[in-house]
Amino acid sequence: MTVWLRRLRAAFYSGLLLLGLGAAGLLIFFFVSVRDLPRVPEPLSRIIETPPTEIYAATGERIMLIGGREAVPLTGVSPFFIQAVIATEDHRFWGHHGIDHLRILKAFWVNLFRTGRVEGASTITQQLAKNLFFSFQRTYLRKFRELAVALQIEARYNKTEILEAYVNQIAFGVGAHGIEQASQVFFGKPALQLSLAEAALLAGLPKSPTRYNPLRHFERARERQKVVLARMAAVGYISTDEAETAFQARLNLRPPGGLQPAGSYFLDLVLKDLEERYGSEVVHHAGLKVFTTLDPQLQAWAAESVQNGLTRLDQVLRVPAAVGGDAGAHPQGALVAVEAHSGAVRALVGGRDYAETEFNRALQNNRQPGSGFKPFLYYAVLEKGGLSPATVVVDQKVAIPVPGQPAWIPRNFSGEHEGPMILKRALAHSVNSVAAQLVGRIGPKPVIDTARRCGIKSPLAPVPSVALGTSGVSPLEMAAAFASLATGGIQHEPFWIRRVEDSSGRILEERILSSRRTLDAAIAFQVVDMMRAVVDEGTGATVRQLGFQLPAAGKTGTTDEFNDAWFTGFTPTLSVCVWVGFDRGMSMRDAQGRGITGARGAAPIWAEFMRKATEGEPRRDFAVPSDIRFVQVNPVNGQPAMPWNPRSMEVALRGGQLKAFLPSSDGREPSPTGGGN
């Protein structure tokens, strides 16, 4: 026997032995590994029985679904979508029995001989098995078990049942699971009404829901849509002309008021609150019905106003357009709108883009409000200091002694001093030296006490500068606190959840809209009247210049180095706070080095939002308490003035304060100075 023949013989026997051992090993491996395969639920539709937690807006619209599935039968899904999914994911779906032999061979060939390319061969049934039972860990054992479960599913259920289960559980991103939910989230319509173009767009998402998210990466999603349409044409479901026409069709993504994507600052707030109360498991798996205070239209306007304002700010600050997703490189913004007479949060924007950064600046930001805090000082001064809005004070350079520390020398924003003026004018023009003198007169404690009575909960340092807003607060706190002034001193806790029900409609909790009077109505009105001057003729006059003409009061705020710009203002019904600034606390200056103030950065956003939010509303004035009288005074010396005097200023005075404006019995001139300096 020749050597080669002996070798051939040895190879033959070895091969035979290996084949036998391999077959035996495979059988043993099969029986061992399938013993603890997961049980497949029967019926398969059981996988989509979990009720979702539904979140509703105040208008009754459902704005979010968490967990659960919005299951629809295949007859409730557009045939275009079914064709698109089959063409893209598994075009031999109707013919195979869980495994696509040809595709496996092709994938084997590609993966083996085409370096750098990886091709999968998972059928729709295998994907279903993977999604239902397995992790996304890439191991051969996991693949084998997934294959085995797929074979069982194919043996037990018909193709329609399999496809129905599949389309009802695929993840489309932004919290949408299942085609019905995805169709509602992205197009605001039922899955049955999806057009070819829309169906192709959605069918392309499961490959990488984040990468192809059309709400964030529209062009990428369009490219993927093109691939799907090409596959549909290649498989023969549509002609190439139809594919081209569909590709050119206009896509109307998510109309306003439709389901919100999972990531939004307001919903994040609601979810965190619910999780604190009920636990994460209950929120995500128990199918709660949550009725919130959100007004979707106001929310849309709030988001739009913040976006527009920040885009303008980008231009003014010359921030480069492409900052590589670095949230800190752009100025950020926040807006909170609170219903004054209940504390209900009607709109909340916590930043430029939730997908970029989930940090909710409307709540979690503790930034200095600057002069935005002065209304609390002025209330405290009117209440404790015995002054009136007509009291004359002197705008001059001052040094406020601080025990154990160097004297505090506040500077005016303009760097100049105007001399004597009445309190109302000092607040309208946000004169720091006057504010410093006032806090020097009454101390910081009454200021802090007033802020607390209005609902400010953040830590406030008991130092004189607290009156000029050197302790951090959030926009939500500011909006709610100013609402206490808007209501004439009645404080409501801000809230965002009205009622929570279980899946069968049993009430678990409902909000009681309680309130308490924390401020004196007449003094609160005097402060509101002074804040009206801020908007009408003071630092917040931008609001009027931008076209918002309804009765309103407010206060600008700007911190040192222009790190923060605020505007908090209110009408008798709605209190709104806007903040803009960099997350890293950088200075905001334009090309000429001029800083961005509250009037320049935040007030335009406020004005744009309020114009839209109050469009068509009747003119409503602030309620005037019975013991308030209006008097025209000279804003410099506080002396009574004739209404037609162009320099006169109207002040709101309480009963006792009027005496100073009436001729005294001894014939002396009235003196409204009230002891002010």
């Binding site: 399938v34 074979l151 128990a286 678990l508 409902e510 809209l513």
Partner: protein, 305 residues
């Protein structure tokens, strides 16, 4: 039996391989492969086997885990809802405010209809009721048709009562202090007791004859002040044996305990008389002129001594 002989060179090997037997074996193998490609019998067999063992396999994997979480979550929510419903049911069927208060833990609350609250309010001892909220205020809210429901919430130091408009806006809120709640609870327990069992009455217990004789000698206004609703006593069919006057006054009212005997059973019916009228009667009973109005105690009640 055929003896196995190993060929010594390649030719017999080839002859064997390409023999009819060898070709048939190869064809059979090919046929199996082709039938598998066409009929998927391997997949079907494996699938059928797995279907047959499905019931014995564990409920593991993402979907089962999610199902378990959902079940646990639903049970938790069911309990919350059931507890709330039980409280609501109890509140709906409650005959007195005390029954509701007793069923609530701190932080828990129940919603009542305005009508039901008014019924319960009428059963609260007058002194406590007047301290909670004036009946005239309730009448005003009722007439304005704004008042829709009442929310009662137990807190650590008392009971918060919220009168609500239909949109859950609070029309009026007030707190019933723990001391008053305790007093109400004590009073509701008096029904099955005798006057000696009630410490506040122990100093002033009079026979019914003596009490009503003294009462009859007072002017009509005083009598009305002392027993504003005499019809409650007229409704009693059993014998009124004794009457006690409490040592404590609350919000201008003093309790008058009327002991009713039925065989060996005794019970006390409580009435709230206005303090000035009670003092007048007490002076008559004790043969003195009316005493000083008393001093406030730490519990917020007034000692008539």
């Amino acid at each position: 039996m055929t003896e196995w002989i190993e060929p010594k060179d390649g030719r017999p090997w080839a002859a064997r391989i390409f023999s009819r037997q060898g070709v048939l074996t190869a064809l059979a193998a090919l046929a199996m492969l082709a039938s598998e490609a066409k009929l998927h019998w391997v997949e079907r067999s494996v699938g059928a086997y797995l279907v047959s063992t499905n019931a014995d396999r564990p409920e593991s994997g993402a979907i089962w885990e999610k199902g378990r979480k959902a079940q646990t979550a639903r049970m938790a929510v069911d309990k919350l809802a059931a507890d709330r419903e039980a409280n609501q049911r109890l509140a709906r069927n409650a005959g007195t405010l005390n029954e509701i208060i007793a069923s609530l833990s701190p932080g828990q609350g129940v919603m009542l209809s305005a009508e039901h609250f008014r019924e319960l309010y009428q059963k609260i001892p007058q002194g406590i009721a007047a301290e909670m909220i004036s009946p005239f205020d309730l009448l005003r809210f009722a007439s304005e048709r704004q008042w829709n429901r009442v929310y009662l919430e137990q807190s650590a130091d008392g009971l918060m009562v919220y009168l609500l408009a239909p949109n859950n806006h609070v029309l009026r809120q007030f707190k019933v202090a723990s001391a008053n709640l305790a007093l109400m609870a004590r009073k509701s327990a008096m029904a099955s007791q005798s006057l000696e069992d009630l410490p506040s009455f122990q100093n002033r217990i009079y026979s019914a004859e003596r009490f009503f004789a003294a009462l009859a000698s007072l002017p009509e206004e005083d009598r009305r002040g002392l027993i504003p609703q005499p019809e409650r006593l007229l409704e009693v069919s059993e014998q009124i044996s004794r009457v006690g006057i409490s040592d404590e006054a609350l919000a201008g009212f003093i309790d008058v305990g009327v002991e009713i005997r039925s065989g060996s059973q005794r019970r006390v019916l409580l009435l709230q008389g206005q303090d000035w009228a009670v003092w007048r009667l007490r002076s008559l009973l004790e043969g003195k002129t009316p005493a000083a109005r008393g001093a406030k105690t730490s519990q917020g009640t007034y000692s008539a001594q």
